[in-house]
Amino acid sequence: MSDIILLAHPTFGVLGILASVWVFVEALNASEANASRVRIAAFAVAGCIVLAWALGGYWYTVYYGAEKAIILKGPWPWAHNFVMETKEHLFFIALILALYLPIAAAANVARNRGARAVVMTVAAFIALNGLAIEGAGAIVNYGVKVAFVHTGGEGAE
């Protein structure tokens, strides 16, 4: 079960990134015709990022302690001390922006160029943050892997 949660976390993160690119493109071409799509896409971003946060948060608080101990014993302790510590707090920035996005998108992006600029900026930063967080997750995962390689798999069970 923990593996499903662990895999679902970045999956919803990627879906959130894709949805934020969708919001960006819809807002870039904002008109009365696609106003509802901007709002739907903004809610899709919020939904995906909240799910990524809930799943990742559950896994982090329940299961990550054991992996952290393995990483710190391995040759890449910075995978936790720097990368994971940054990632776990960076996620809140993406979460705050994702929760705000549907609120910003509720304004008329077709008529209000200020609202359009805000929606595009927020969507772009969710995507950039998301990509950084996905990359950080891969480094943390690799930190565990190199620790196992270094110790000959001790503690893998």
């Binding site: 946060w53 948060g57 982090y60 608080t61 001390n81 720097f82 510590e85 940054t86 776990e88 707090h89 960076l90 809140f92 920035i93 979460l95 705050i96 922006l97 929760l99 705000y100 609120i103 910003a104 509720a106 304004a107 008529r111 209000n112 160029r113 200020g114 609202a115 359009r116 600029a117 805000v118 595009m120 900026t121 927020v122 930063f125 943050n129 950084a132």
Partner: protein
């Protein structure tokens, strides 16, 4: 096509209501998130206290961020009118300073 903004265009740049208030709240909450991470990491008693509140400091940190965002968003509602361009710059700056501040802190400590 004339690119010079008309009075109507300028007016259309202004945001009010929840889009303005929660946008400003989001920028503040992002900076609060980074500041709280610094203080938590530097001051162990706060870290321990936050852990005691929810069982994990990260959960308490998330609740604190959400509380700041929602509370300030409601507080600013009806009180804030802001240019969308200015709010975009503010949110971008908060994201860059907040994210960069986190990376720099954990790289140096």
């Amino acid at each position: 096509m004339d690119a010079t903004p008309t009075a109507a265009d300028k007016n259309a740049d202004t945001l009010k209501g929840p889009a303005a208030s929660f946008g400003l709240a989001a920028a503040i909450a992002i900076l609060f998130n980074t500041a709280l991470a610094w203080v938590e990491d530097a001051y162990e008693p706060l870290n321990a206290y936050m852990t005691s509140l929810s069982g994990h400091q990260w959960l308490t940190h998330g609740f604190a961020d959400a509380t700041v965002f929602i509370a300030l968003g409601y507080f600013f509602t009806g009180r804030v009118r802001i240019s969308g361009t200015r709010l975009s710059v503010l949110l971008a700056a908060a994201s860059i300073v907040g994210g960069g501040g986190l990376a720099l802190w954990f790289a140096l400590t």
